[in-house]
């Protein structure tokens, strides 16, 4: 009976069974409907047998690919939430900044042929641009918009974060135009690997491997370095950490820089996968990544990674698995609905997430 929704029925129970039953009836109805939908859909799909093994493999692989990006963005949410108790709503837009930076490096590199000849060096330059720009912008937003609200309770910080999100989007629209820019596609990324009748696009593999590598580096930074230790101390208890001599301000700036750089990498990969860069591109993945962070347990670094991958998988496999089976036309259109529904369900039924047990108490 610790957190969130459970608290209400339990208190209500003491006050009168009738009211309790109304709310918990609603909750149980929702649970039942969701489970019924998923089970019925899955059985329906299996009976129909419309998709081949290769297609399922494709769904899973794409889910892992997109999930690795959500995981990277979710890391930024979770770390900032850990140290500031703030939902940095603009984090998705920070990802967009990285994508734009990558685009402006990638285009001349591709046009000059450099990217074709030196894929490793070229990619490194693009990623570096994305990381630096996103990191710097993240630190700037902290300095300008979030720092005055460190001790403010209530909505002000979140509303400010909305403001930052709009400001960043519209600034990029004003600076670089509202058109969708197409990201260069070097020839080497069309490589496909074939194995046991399944084909694996090289891009997906590259994105997953690199994302996992970067996340491993981030995990090491958080676990092994002094700064990482300070970060964990601040997310555990900011005041106590300050009393022990941790420079909280520095930790916060470092957290924003780290989360921003990670989002920048994700932005470059996102643009790389979807071949499109535009000012609004960060919004949807940003919200979903937040869902991933909550799913994994907000404040928990491994949780964010897990949550991101899980969300990606559900979003990619879900339409065919659950929705197709119950006879919904064009289920792929509704994949965002699945992602958002999953997010709301997590917020309602398990706000502490999978791995975030201890954070939830402070939250609720």
């Amino acid at each position: 009976m610790s957190a969130g929704p459970l608290a209400i029925p339990s208190v209500a129970a003491r006050r009168g069974a009738a009211r309790m039953s109304a709310v918990s009836l609603a909750l149980w109805t929702v649970r039942f409907l969701v489970v019924a939908l998923v089970v019925a859909g899955t059985i329906g799909t299996i009976l129909k047998d419309r998709y081949t093994t290769a297609q399922w493999f494709e769904f899973v692989l794409f889910g892992l690919t997109i999930g690795s990006l959500y995981a990277q963005v979710a890391l930024g949410y979770t770390m900032v939430y850990g140290v500031l108790r703030l939902i940095n709503f603009a984090h998705g837009d920070i990802m967009m900044c990285g994508a734009f930076a990558g685009y402006f490096v990638a285009t001349p590199l591709e046009n000059s042929g450099f990217l074709e000849v030196h894929p490793v060096l070229g990619m490194a330059a693009i990623l570096a641009a994305g990381m630096v720009v996103s990191g710097v912008i993240a630190v700037l937003t902290e300095r300008i918009a979030y720092r005055p609200f460190r001790r403010v309770q209530g909505f002000a910080p979140l509303i400010c974060a909305f403001g930052v999100s709009f400001f960043l989007e519209q600034t990029f629209r004003g600076l670089f135009g509202s058109s969708v820019k197409s990201y260069p596609a070097p020839k080497w990324e069309g490589v496909e690997f074939h194995w046991a009748g399944l084909s694996v696009p090289g891009v997906d593999l590259l994105v997953i491997v690199l994302a996992v590598a970067f996340m491993a580096v981030l995990y090491l930074i958080v676990q092994k370095t002094r700064m990482g230790m300070a970060m964990r101390a601040v997310s555990e208890d900011g005041e106590a950490a300050a009393l022990m001599g941790v420079d909280v301000g520095k930790v916060i700036v470092f957290t924003f820089a780290l989360g921003g750089a990670m989002a920048g990498i994700a932005g470059v990969f996102y643009a790389f996968l979807f071949k499109q860069v535009y000012f609004y591109m960060g919004f949807t993945p940003g919200i979903k990544a937040f869902g991933g962070a909550v799913l994994g347990g907000i404040g928990s670094v491994p949780g964010a990674m897990l949550g991101g991958f899980f969300l990606g998988l559900v979003e990619s496999v879900g339409p065919s698995l659950f929705l197709d089976g119950i006879g919904i036309k064009a289920p792929y259109e509704l994949r965002d609905v699945i992602a958002y529904t999953l997010m709301i369900l997590v917020l309602v039924f398990r706000p502490q997430g999978i791995l975030g047990e201890h954070m939830a108490k402070k939250r609720a």
Partner: protein, 552 residues
């Protein structure tokens, strides 16, 4: 030394601000809007304002008068230098492939029409003079300064809104004579600008003279004065479309719609403290219900009249609000905001999808929705619909006002301040919250219902998250929990951008900046509710000693 660094930083910051405005495309767009026809445009005015403000800020607490002047000069020069640098860069490096606003027209503007070299010098000089003037203005007599600011502001308003003002004074006789003195059909005349400046500045001088004669208004008087100004504003709102015609009627119709929705969200956010970003979901429910019930097209269900469809739409919205409210009862604060945001997006995607297309029409939407009529009198034009909206908003305002001080309103406020304490004190959490969701949804649904009949058709693309953000922004700018604040916010955030059409694309940039600035400097809003501003000030007073103890 400290003064010097401060002046330099100020100058650089303002310079960066100017470069930002230029590159984001705003300066060039402002250039197209004249203030005094053929003499001054909005872009130049903004540049001048930047230099003046830079000088004034740089000169603040710089000590003796000559030091202040020096600080202002330095700040202005540095800001001008950055702008000049931008101009030279734009002239020499082809930047437009990246920054779409870095056009020759922008360079020309920043160089005041000169070649790059002399232009840079002119900008530098202009920045210096502006900064110095700003510093001088900052140290001058307050009443004089206020008079100059008032005069300049009056000229800017008269110039920027010349079309609207001229539309409203299409009379013969004395008014016609004054109009011809002040305006040509293209804009403000120089003589008119001078006259307006003198009149507004003079009035300000006289007023400040009188108020400095030891007359401080009591709180009671201040409140009365506020009510009088609110009444006047309302009267203007009611009469304006009659005076200014169909276009203004359309703008006001939109403003009225947002006032209506603002009142609803205000109950949820301002009173009950439930940050709801899924407002658009219930707006969509109201609009689609009305559309489906009324539409004459094949997708229409019952072909009802508006007066039958509207109550049903509102009821369906309430039902939706309560149904969504039940499961999210336990979700609090920031999490609730994100959950409701998710709901809004879900509704938008479902409405757009092929899955729901047989019922809701998919991307084509629902067409052919008749206008409401009373007897044989059809509310066809925007102006007539505006009055319908105004009546609805009035009813909504009355409900909101009565609720505010009712038992329920108090319960909401208790909920907002501390859920656990409120519950311990006997507030029925479930009922109060569900009522808040239901009422908020009702207002949103009513708004959607009017919206549907106003457009005569309903498309999924009308139901973006931006609607929720619009409504949220307007109650924040106006003042959370304050009814007149909602009206003020709707006029400022919905009405103004409609009048300044060409800035339409920059509207959300402005919203974003407004949200940050309001939260930072005036979290209680432009027209705060009394309770709220008292709370915020009390909280600020308490927070200070704590902050002082904090290391680093």
């Amino acid at each position: 030394m400290k003064t010097l660094t401060k002046a330099a930083t100020t100058g650089l910051l303002f310079g960066v601000g100017g470069v930002y405005l230029a590159l984001v495309g705003l300066l060039e767009m402002m250039q197209a809007r004249p203030i005094v026809f053929g003499a001054v445009n909005l872009g130049q005015a903004v540049l001048a304002l930047l230099a003046l403000a830079c000088g004034a800020v740089a000169a603040r607490d710089a000590g003796p008068a000559f030091a202040r002047a020096g600080a202002g000069l330095l700040g202005g020069l540095l800001a001008g230098a950055l702008m000049a640098l931008l101009q030279v860069i734009v002239a020499t490096v082809p930047l437009q492939g990246m920054f779409i606003a870095a056009s020759p027209a922008l360079r020309n503007m920043l160089a005041f029409g000169f070649a790059p070299g002399p232009g840079a010098l002119a900008m530098l000089l202009g920045g210096g003079i502006g900064g110095l003037a700003g510093a001088v203005l900052a140290v001058s007599v307050p009443s004089l300064r206020r008079a100059i600011v008032a005069g300049a502001a009056a000229v800017v308003i008269a110039g920027v809104f010349q079309e609207l003002i001229q539309l409203m004074i299409q009379y013969e006789g004395i008014i016609g004579w004054i109009r011809d003195f002040v305006y040509t059909w293209q804009g403000l005349r120089p003589q008119g600008a001078v006259a307006i400046f003198v009149i507004a500045g003079g009035t300000s001088l006289v007023l400040s003279h009188r108020s400095s004669a030891g007359h401080v208004p009591s709180p009671d008087q201040r409140r009365r004065r506020r009510f009088i100004s609110a009444g006047v504003a309302l009267l203007v709102l009611v009469l304006m479309p009659l005076l200014a015609g169909a276009y203004i009627g359309e703008v006001l119709m939109l403003v009225g719609l947002y006032i209506l929705m603002g009142m609803g969200l205000n109950l949820e956010v301002g009173l009950a403290g439930l940050l709801d970003l899924g407002f658009v979901a219930f707006f969509a429910v109201g609009a689609y219900t009305t559309a489906l019930l009324m539409s004459g097209s094949s997708i229409g269900l019952l072909h009802l009249s508006y007066w039958e469809a509207m109550p049903i739409a509102v009821l369906v919205s309430i039902l939706g609000g309560v149904l969504f409210g039940l499961p999210v009862l336990g979700v609090r604060g920031d999490y609730l905001a994100v959950a409701t945001l998710g709901l809004g997006e879900i509704v938008r995607i479902v409405v757009l999808s092929d899955f729901a297309a047989p019922l809701l029409g998919g991307p084509q939407g629902v067409l052919d929705i008749p206008k409401p009529s009373i007897g044989s009198f059809e509310l066809g034009s925007p102006v007539k619909l505006f009055y319908l909206t105004l009546v609805c908003a009035g009813v909504a305002a009355f409900i909101a006002w009565r609720l505010e001080n009712s038992r329920l309103g108090r319960a909401w406020e208790a909920l907002r301040d501390d859920e656990d304490v409120a519950q311990a004190l006997g507030v029925n959490l479930i009922r109060s919250k569900l009522l808040a969701y239901g009422l908020g949804a009702a207002f949103a649904g009513l708004g959607g219902s009017i919206f549907a009949t106003m457009l005569g058709s309903v498309y999924p693309s009308s139901f973006q998250l931006l609607i929720s953000i619009n409504v949220l922004a307007l109650i924040i700018v106006g003042g959370m929990g304050s009814l007149p604040g909602v009206v003020l916010g709707a006029i400022a955030l919905i009405g103004l951008p409609e009048l300044l059409r060409e800035f339409g694309e920059y509207r959300y940039l402005f919203y974003g900046a407004a949200l940050i600035v309001m939260m930072r400097w005036k979290p209680e809003g432009l027209w705060p509710s009394e309770v709220r501003s008292r709370e915020l000030h009390a909280a600020a007073g308490e927070a200070e000693p704590v902050a002082a103890m904090e290391p680093g």
